[in-house]
């Protein structure tokens, strides 16, 4: 930055020190913006014409409208994201999400990583569902390499994946309340997460970025001590969830702020690409575990849960129901777990034959998929991840116009986005 770079006061440029100095020196005042540049100075964007039709739509201010930045240092919990909100008083007129604050170039980085190292790169994408982030690449690479993981490995994979889903949905309950001012459910959610993460760290060695899956299986086996700890956890998990539910589900204030809010209809959700619990809360029974079964899900017994209503409350109820469903699935998995090896025999550096593979899993946020292209070498030629939070964010500008600013956070929390996944 040069030393003579000065940003004028974004609110009233003609009253700033710069204007006074210019006037004192006999210079003309700094060129003011107007017309198609209007509104930019209040959000601190550089002076550039709106590039696209949509941008022009958002950044052109009508009578009494104002552009307000929410973020990137968000008081909310989803990560670094900027929402440019066009408000008229308290009422939101339009929203433009500005992304990229957490963009790390993971897809490009993976092109220089071996197939095993990719597992460490994908973990911090959607860091609250790291196991799912690893599951999809593992399946894709196994398709490319032409092997299948042993049965026990698949069962352990399903077990850790469902454990991950339990704590992710538990956290969502907390975020939903926190964004509306309830301070306690987030702490109960973290108690739940702490217990699950203790289990996951017992089996994988890590508490958050697990690096547990391998091409051809998983890294470590689960021993008897793990299962006894799992049993202890299982006996107590519903209590914590219930503590949270008691504060939230029948709470009049919570219901008043979430019922009828942010209603997304089924066809609209599909058109926007929303998947996962948000889609099922709008009544569409699409669950990747049933729609395109992978791993050992065909052997487990469960129904696809849906809600009617498609509002914030329905999305909340959907996640609570799926949390309990996951616990039920964990019970089945533990019952049916076979013995055997947990990793297929693969060389240290895998070189699959040239080809393409697509694998999708059901992450707590929706359809998480990986499209991998191999060129015969040790690194993937193209490694593409489709993150569900990224696509769900497009629902925000559709749901918010006409609502109040306070509802922005409530609706956002109901989609449970994680910026790591959104920005890759």
């Amino acid at each position: 930055m040069t030393s003579d770079l000065r940003i004028p006061d974004p609110v009233r440029p003609e009253h700033t020190e710069e204007a006074r100095l210019r006037a004192a020196a006999g210079m003309a005042p700094a060129p003011s913006t107007g017309g198609e540049y209007a509104g930019f100075e209040s959000v601190g964007l550089p002076d550039r014409p709106p590039q696209t039709e949509r941008e022009r739509e958002v950044y052109t201010l009508g009578e009494g409208e104002m552009l307000v930045n929410m973020g990137p240092q968000h008081p909310s919990t989803h990560g670094v994201m900027r929402l440019v909100v066009k408000v008229r008083g308290e009422v939101v007129v339009d929203i433009d999400p500005v992304l990229g604050y957490l963009h790390r170039g993971i897809e490009k980085l993976c092109e220089n990583a071996t197939y095993t190292t990719v597992m460490t790169y994908v973990d911090p994408m959607d860091y609250l569902s790291a196991m799912h982030n690893e599951h999809a690449p593992a399946i894709a690479f196994e398709k490319l390499y032409g092997i299948k993981a042993p049965k026990r490995a698949e069962y352990i994979r399903a077990l850790v994946v469902e454990l991950n889903r339990v704590f992710s949905h538990g956290l969502m309950m907390g975020f939903q309340a926190l964004d509306m001012g309830g301070l306690t459910p987030i702490l109960y959610g973290f108690i739940n997460r702490d217990e699950v993460v203790d289990l996951l760290s017992a089996i994988s060695g890590q508490r958050m970025l697990f690096n547990f899956f391998r091409v051809g299986g998983v890294n470590f086996d689960a021993n008897d001590e793990f299962f006894s700890r799992l049993g202890t956890w299982r006996a107590g998990v519903l209590k914590t969830i219930e503590m949270n539910e008691r504060i939230m589900t029948d709470n009049e204030i919570f219901r008043g702020r979430t019922i009828g809010m942010g209603v997304l209809s089924g066809p609209e959700a599909i058109a926007l690409g929303v998947t996962g619990p948000s889609l099922r809360a709008s009544g569409v029974p699409f669950d990747v575990r049933k729609a395109h079964p992978y791993s050992i899900y065909p052997e487990l017994e469960f129904d696809v849960i849906t809600q009617t209503g498609g509002d914030v409350y329905a999305r909340y109820l959907q996640r609570v129901a799926e949390l309990k469903q996951s616990i039920h699935l964990i019970d089945q998995i533990v019952d049916k777990m076979p013995h055997g090896p947990v990793q297929a025999q693969v060389p240290g550096i895998i070189r699959p034959k040239p080809g393409r593979a697509y694998a999708a899993v059901e992450s707590p946020r929706g359809l998480y998929s990986v499209y991998a292209i191999s060129d015969g070498g040790p690194n993937p030629y193209r490694f593409r991840m489709r993150d569900p939070s990224f696509v769900s964010l497009q629902a925000m500008p559709k749901l918010m116009p006409g609502r109040l600013i306070a509802d922005t956070m409530a609706v956002m929390a109901s989609f449970d986005p994680v910026m790591g996944g959104v920005d890759k």
Partner: protein, 336 residues
């Protein structure tokens, strides 16, 4: 100079100094309660390093505010920016003048004590408004306007619910209302609806959860206090907690018998022992309600601003008027 006049002035200065000094430990105690009680409800420890059981944490908070840089936005209006925290704090401190602490221990035993109290509490609205305006920040302005709207609209059901108490008690003097309760039982039994309205409206009046839209931290920054730092912010901060205690105290005085002990115990004594006895019960009851307010903060999410205003005007106000009419009618009919 007249000795009486001098003594009077001296006593006045002493009383006001004591009161001002009393607000600070009150704020400290209430803040400490909030930190520890909310922590225990969230299954965690809360502050436990500064002093035994973390007792001095809020004191340290106070010193922290004193030690911070005092920063003012360039374009803010200096006079009003400085004045705003004083107004809010003085509204809280001055309203402590009429609180009935114990028999014989009331700083200013006005005959119109109740009116004085609600009038002075309304000054904090002005303080919030000018804080938002003088900050030269559109988010502060929005927050200030919101808070003014909220506080003004909840003042009406608040005061209306008290009119029922006044009608029954026959006086605007706190002490006489309490003495009425000595003879007739606690006002809660006579005015349950009035108490309900008063409680909800008082929470909204002092911007406590679930009505803390003003300081909603997950929305746009910190409301009217965004640009304040150091002791200026400290004034707002302390004023909020002092107001919490004061509102609880007034509610206890009006509806729960003030310094009177509940049934199995003798209601009050005379003399210095009686003052201490009354003081004990008053503080116990007040802090019980402070605890409930803190409990609500730990548990409930925030009410949205339009739902908040709707509740004030469409629910509480009609209910308060109905309560008043019924009370007045019963009093006239039974010639109470």
């Amino acid at each position: 100079m007249d000795l009486d006049l001098l003594l009077g002035v001296g006593r006045f200065l002493l009383a006001t100094t004591l009161l001002l000094l009393l607000t600070v430990p009150t704020a400290f105690v209430v803040i400490q309660m909030e930190l520890k009680v909310i922590a225990q409800m969230q299954l965690r420890y809360g502050p436990n390093r500064i002093g035994p059981w973390g007792m001095f944490q809020s004191t340290i908070h106070g010193f922290k505010f004193l030690a911070k840089e005092d920063h003012m936005p360039d374009l803010a209006d200096r006079t009003t920016f400085t004045l705003a925290p004083w107004m809010v704090y003085m509204a809280a401190a001055m309203s402590m003048l009429v609180i009935p602490w114990a028999p014989g221990a009331i700083a200013a035993d006005f005959n119109i004590g109740i009116v004085y109290f609600f009038a002075i509490i309304g000054l904090s609205v002005v303080g919030m408004l000018i804080a938002g305006w003088a900050s030269y920040n559109k988010y502060s302005l929005l927050g200030g306007l919101r808070s003014a709207a909220q506080m003004v609209s909840y003042e009406i059901p608040l005061t209306l619910s008290v009119v029922g108490v006044v009608v029954l008690g026959g006086s605007l003097n706190f002490r006489e209302v309490i003495e009425w309760q000595l003879d007739h039982g606690w006002m809660l039994l006579w005015q349950p609806v009035g108490w309900g309205i008063f409680y909800i409206a008082s929470l909204a009046e002092i911007n406590r959860t679930p009505f803390d839209m003003v300081e909603a931290d997950s929305e746009l920054v910190a409301g009217p206090f965004t640009e304040y730092s150091g002791m200026r912010f400290g004034f707002f901060f302390f004023a909020e907690y002092v107001a919490l205690f004061i509102m609880s105290g007034i509610m206890v005085a009006l509806f729960f018998g003030g310094w009177l002990a509940p049934w199995p115990f003798p209601a009050q004594f005379d003399g210095f022992g009686g003052t201490l006895y009354g003081l004990f019960w008053f503080f116990l009851k007040s802090y019980l309600f402070v605890f409930v307010a803190v409990w609500l903060r730990a548990t409930l999410p925030r009410v949205r601003v339009d739902q908040l205003m709707g509740m004030a005007w469409k629910v509480l106000l009609p209910l308060a008027m109905l309560n008043l009419m019924v009370t007045a009618g019963v009093v006239v009919w039974l010639k109470l």
